[in-house]
């Protein structure tokens, strides 16, 4: 076996109430491609941040060249030769390629003025770019580069600090097929030069192509390791899932009613070449699963009129509705509980009362003058109904806990007449108690005839709460599951773009 570059032994990282990493061990050899896979929230990002020196582990050691470290700083990580190619590229678009490669380590002419020696920086970057087969020069402005080209800049940057390990986090999520192939070639070339690559991806096909070894994380633990000859889609998926899910499901009081919301051939700006077809009946909770970036949020934003609808249409009870703006959507009874409640759900500095009535203020006004009493009554009613724990509706929303803030966002919509409601990650960052209250509330709404679409990356939630689950993959719905078909395995297969196994295929 080749030389071990570094080793993580028994790394744990706990946050209050959460064990993000639990006794994770990982070994990286010279010149190998290590695939790192796991579901959303399995702990991949946390692990990488430990490696990069951004966060300190709560327990465990990082062993580099025989010496043990309890934690690393960012500069120690860099010295060790660990470099990142981030999912969101960290480049300065206003600077040229050479300046980006040498950012923070600029070559100087010397002298007290600390003038930058651009010529030398360019001269040093040119061979790196040639090695990567890039067709742009060191003086190109990053702003003018495509995402794939920017990735090459990041890799050049890693090479310029003599990186021995390059960590790539979902490097192909925004690349075309040919760009992806090009990247895989570059990875093979890096490997041939003795550089190790940690390749994090949901795309199991790419992992199959390039990885020498695959480590699987689940719920913050390493749950398995597969050698090159053990790699298969089925083996990887089996390792990624496998915990027993508690059933939370409360069945609907009555079967879904006819009618509801039909999304027909909808094209969103996030995936202009894909069409989305989706139906949700009145009285039903439709779970919308998929990997981060599969287009679920874009769908909700388009249906709510935030993002433009580029094609297709939205029908409620078979009547096409026009949603050019959130105002139109709200008028049609289409509401959205957004993913980022602090940014898009609430005006944090306004009192609870004003947040609750923000969308319906004209209903509490005569001649455009706000009727304070009517407004407060509605807010109080929502506080009572949602059991928001506050002494008064005059409290500013910023002083509330995450769960109570989310309830204020819900109160805003429940004080009106919902017909179709999109919940985007409704329980993210919310404690268990408030979570179950929100689930109960969604069920109550559904039983009142509201059609509910719940976007969630929490597998337990998707499987436990939904009546049906639609799964999205790269901008389109890759499959819809009925309750008997619900399983983490099935959801995950659809989420990574594989077809469901038919009974015959499974029997073989």
């Amino acid at each position: 076996m080749a030389e071990i570059l570094f080793e993580l032994v028994g790394i744990s990282k706990s946050y209050p109430g959460v064990m993000a990493l639990n006794d994770v061990s990982l070994r990286v050899h010279r010149g190998e491609v290590l695939g790192l896979i796991g579901e959303n929230g399995a702990g991949k990002s946390t692990l990488m941040r430990v490696l990069g020196g951004v966060i300190a582990p709560s327990a465990g050691v990082i062993r580099i060249g025989g010496t043990d470290h309890a934690e690393m700083t960012v500069s120690e990580a860099t010295q060790t030769g660990i470099a990142f190619v981030h999912q969101e590229l960290n480049l300065f678009e206003n600077l040229d390629v050479a300046a980006n490669v040498f950012i923070g380590r600029e070559k100087l002419v010397g002298g007290p003025l600390k003038l930058v020696n651009s010529a030398e920086m360019r001269a040093r970057v040119t061979p790196l770019l040639q090695r990567l087969g890039a067709d742009f020069g060191p003086d190109t402005l990053v702003d003018n580069l495509s995402i794939a080209e920017r990735q090459m800049v990041e890799i050049a940057k890693a090479l310029s600090i003599d990186a021995r390990v390059i960590i790539m986090d979902e490097p192909t999520s925004s690349l075309t097929i040919s760009e992806t192939e090009r990247l895989l070639e570059v990875i093979a070339d890096l490997k041939a030069h003795g550089i190790a690559v940690i390749y994090i991806s949901h795309r199991l096909g790419e992992i199959m192509t390039c990885a020498d070894r695959v480590v699987v994380l689940r719920d913050g633990r390493t749950v398995g390791e597969l050698a090159r000859d053990q790699l298969s889609h089925a083996a990887m998926i089996r390792l990624m899932i496998g915990r027993d899910l508690k059933t939370l499901h409360t069945p609907p009081k009555r079967p879904p009613q006819p009618g509801g919301c039909d999304i027909v051939g909808l094209v969103t700006s996030a995936f202009p070449d894909r069409q989305i077809d989706l139906s949700v009946r009145h009285g039903e909770i439709l779970g919308l699963a998929g990997l981060v970036g599969a287009g679920r949020t874009s769908l909700a934003r388009a249906a709510f009129g935030i993002d433009p609808v580029l094609g297709g249409e939205i029908r409620i009870d078979n009547a096409p509705v026009d949603v050019a703006s959130p105002r139109d959507a709200i008028r049609q009874g289409i509401y959205l509980v957004p993913e980022d409640r602090k940014k898009a759900g609430l005006v944090l500095e306004l009192p609870i009362c004003e947040n609750v009535t923000l969308a319906s203020l004209l209903n509490h006004a005569r001649m455009w003058l706000v009727n304070g009493a009517s407004e407060r009554n509605v807010a109080k009613e929502q506080v009572r109904r949602l059991s928001i724990k506050v002494p008064s509706v005059d409290m500013e929303a910023v002083t509330l806990s995450g769960g109570n803030q989310q309830k204020v966002v819900l109160g805003k919509w429940l004080s009106m007449q919902p017909r179709v409601m999109f919940f985007d990650e409704p329980t993210r960052g919310i404690d268990v108690g408030a979570k179950s209250e929100i689930y109960a509330l969604m069920r109550e709404l559904a039983d009142q005839g509201v059609a509910i679409v719940m976007i969630s990356s929490d597998m337990e939630e998707v499987i436990g709460v939904s009546d049906r689950v639609a799964v999205m993959h790269e901008g389109r719905v890759s499959g819809v599951l009925e309750r008997p078909q619900f399983s983490e395995y099935n959801v995950l297969r659809l989420a990574i773009g594989q077809a469901l196994e038919t009974v015959e295929a499974a029997a073989q």
Partner: protein
């Protein structure tokens, strides 16, 4: 919220009393009425500027708007002998239209308010100077608009009409800002435009309307200033006046980040600025120090306010840590407080 205005009012009284003690002429009826007139003149357009600042924007074009609308107004009355109600209407409409153009550029075309209104400042001034070939326009010996002139520069029971107009406008806008749906939207948009949009508020409309109101009030102020000076020299008329308005709004508690401020605060801010100017004259401080005094007071005022707010925040945070139930009325501006009640997020 009210605390801020109370503090400002108190400061105003203290400064007035001290100045009055040093030189009793400050408190003479003549001086006070003159002061009231100036407060009226400068307060009218400061109100509009305040609304714009609450949206998180800024309007730098006001002074040049006065020059452009001013020369047009005088020309309509003298050269073209247009009846004064029509000329008045034209100027008001002109202000509204200029405000609307700026509002559309800022909201529809997503340009930065600073740039749009800075270009407005340059363009309107240039247009005014070109239109008049840089010559001063004034009223002849005829009484082209005696009626309007009497209204604009007259007084009722000794109180200058400009001041009365300011009070009336402040009351109207006070109701709009603090009691109406539009006012609520304005604060929401200023504090968090995205959340406002996600609540179905037409944020572009709300912001553009603020610029339109500001432009309209600039039209009103133009007429008042024209009759105050009785002539318009296009290269200097209204120069720097937008800065007075911004200063008054900021002194009155508007935050340039948006979402904060009140009509009462803006009026008090304007009054304080005018008192300071007056004080420089009355106390025999060299007139050249005028701006320096103003700048210093604004700097100290804003600094003191910030320190007080930070202290209040700390107190609140401590109260939150001690798990005492927060009081029902919290002061504004307690963002990013590490205070949590109930469950942890």
């Amino acid at each position: 919220m009210i605390k801020k205005e109370l503090g400002l009012g108190l400061l105003l009284v203290v400064i007035s009393v001290i100045t009055g003690m040093i030189n009793p002429a400050f408190l003479s009826v003549v001086n006070l009425l003159n002061l009231a007139n100036l407060i009226g003149l400068f307060g009218v357009f400061a109100l509009g500027e305040g609304l714009v600042i609450i949206t998180g924007g800024i309007d730098l074009s006001l002074g040049s708007m006065f020059a452009l609308l001013g020369v047009v107004f005088v020309d309509l009355l003298t050269t073209y002998q247009v009846p004064w109600p029509l000329a008045l209407l034209a100027v008001l409409l002109g202000g509204l239209v200029l405000g609307a153009i700026q509002g559309v550029l800022i909201t529809r075309l997503k340009m930065q308010p600073f740039i749009v209104t800075l270009c407005g400042l340059l363009i309107y001034r240039g247009a005014a100077r070109y239109y008049t070939t840089d010559s001063t326009r004034g009223f002849g010996y005829g009484d082209e608009a005696a009626t309007l002139s009497n209204i604009a520069s007259g007084h009722v029971a000794g109180i200058p009409n400009t001041f009365i107009l300011l009070i009336v406008l402040a009351l109207v806008l006070g109701v709009v800002l603090h009691r109406s749906v539009y006012g609520r939207w304005l604060y929401a948009v200023g504090k968090n435009e995205e959340a406002a949009r996600f609540s179905g508020i037409n944020t572009n409309m709300v912001i553009a309307t603020a610029y339109i109101i500001s432009g309209g009030l600039a039209g009103v102020a133009t007429v008042l200033f024209v009759f105050y000076t009785n002539s318009v020299s296009p290269s200097s008329f209204g120069n720097f006046y937008e800065l007075y308005a911004i200063a008054a709004a900021v002194l009155g508690g508007c935050s340039l980040r948006g979402g904060e401020g009140s009509i009462l605060g803006i009026v008090l801010g304007t009054a304080l600025l005018q008192v300071l100017q007056n004080l420089v004259n009355i106390l025999g401080i060299p007139n050249s120090l005028n701006f320096a005094v103003m700048g210093t007071v604004i700097l100290i005022g804003v600094l003191a306010d910030q320190q007080l707010q930070a202290r209040r925040k700390r107190k609140l945070a401590l109260a939150g840590l001690a798990r005492t139930a927060p009081k029902s009325t919290l002061p504004h501006g307690v963002d990013a407080l590490p205070v949590r009640t109930g469950d942890q997020g």
